[in-house]
């Protein structure tokens, strides 16, 4: 596609519900990142995929957070048993390259705003 697409743009969940957030990266982009952005803060790294391989999940805040990219394109971030502290904007970004020598630029989607009541 022309850009990174995320859905839903807005999600309201009751505490304890499971949610799934979708990211459709730019076609052909190897690298895919998920970020969490709390209100008034900068984005914080959650996890990184190179094609279908999840190479870094060190930023996931708990085992309630799970991400996958089974075919190396679309990715889903799943949050189980949501808590109020999970309320944030979840940003997805993709990048063409995988290794050093890439331009370094990440292309971002518009994010999914999750509100947990």
């Amino acid at each position: 596609g022309a850009g990174v697409s995320q859905s839903p743009r807005y999600k309201v969940a009751k505490r304890g519900q499971d949610v799934a957030l979708r990211c459709d990266p730019i076609s052909g982009h190897v690298s895919l990142f998920w970020y969490q952005q709390a209100l008034g803060q900068g984005p914080e790294f959650l996890t990184y995929f190179q094609n279908e391989a999840q190479l870094d999940k060190s930023g996931l805040p708990s085992d309630r957070f799970f991400a996958e990219r089974p075919e190396g394109s679309v990715s889903t971030l799943k949050i189980q048993r949501t808590q109020q502290e999970d309320s944030a904007v979840y940003l997805c970004a993709s990048s063409l390259g995988a290794l050093a020598g890439a331009t370094g630029e990440l292309f971002f989607g518009e994010g999914s705003r999750l509100t947990v009541l």
Binding site: V30, S31, F33, Y35, G40, Q41, G42, P43, E44, F45, Y48, Q50, L55, D56, V89, L91, A93, S95, G97, A98, L99, A100, G101, A102, T103, G104, E105, L106, F107, F108, G109, E110, G111, R113
Partner: protein, 116 residues
């Protein structure tokens, strides 16, 4: 771990004037990338300007330019002839030499207000 610090939570400038947003960072690497991203209320991060650390020349993109001081680990953004459309959150970001394996580390952002 890399850290990025933006010491100005909010800046205000008159339309058509010049404003400088500051950013400092901490890293032990010698080769890396630095970025300024703009985030309007629509939430989409838009790349404003990029600087490769091995390049001594400061990057420039139309009205946007940077002052990159590698020894001081400083990377400020200058916006000339400010326009109403420049109003947004601005984030400074660092990316390590590992290419795809290194995601961005962001500062907390500066809210830029443009006064007509």
């Amino acid at each position: 771990a890399q850290t990025v610090t933006q010491s100005q939570p909010e800046m205000s400038v008159q339309e058509a004037e010049t404003v400088t947003l500051s950013c400092t960072y901490d890293t032990s690497e010698s080769d890396y990338y630095l970025f300024w991203y703009k985030q309007p209320p629509s939430r989409q991060m838009i790349l404003v300007i990029r600087q490769e650390a091995y390049k001594q020349q400061n990057a420039t993109e139309n009205r946007f330019s940077v002052n990159f001081q590698k020894a001081a680990k400083s990377f400020s953004l200058k916006i000339s002839d400010s326009q109403l459309g420049d109003a947004a959150m601005y984030f400074c970001a660092y990316r390590g030499p590992g290419g795809g394996a290194d995601g961005l580390t962001f500062g907390k952002g500066t809210h830029l207000i443009i006064q007509p």
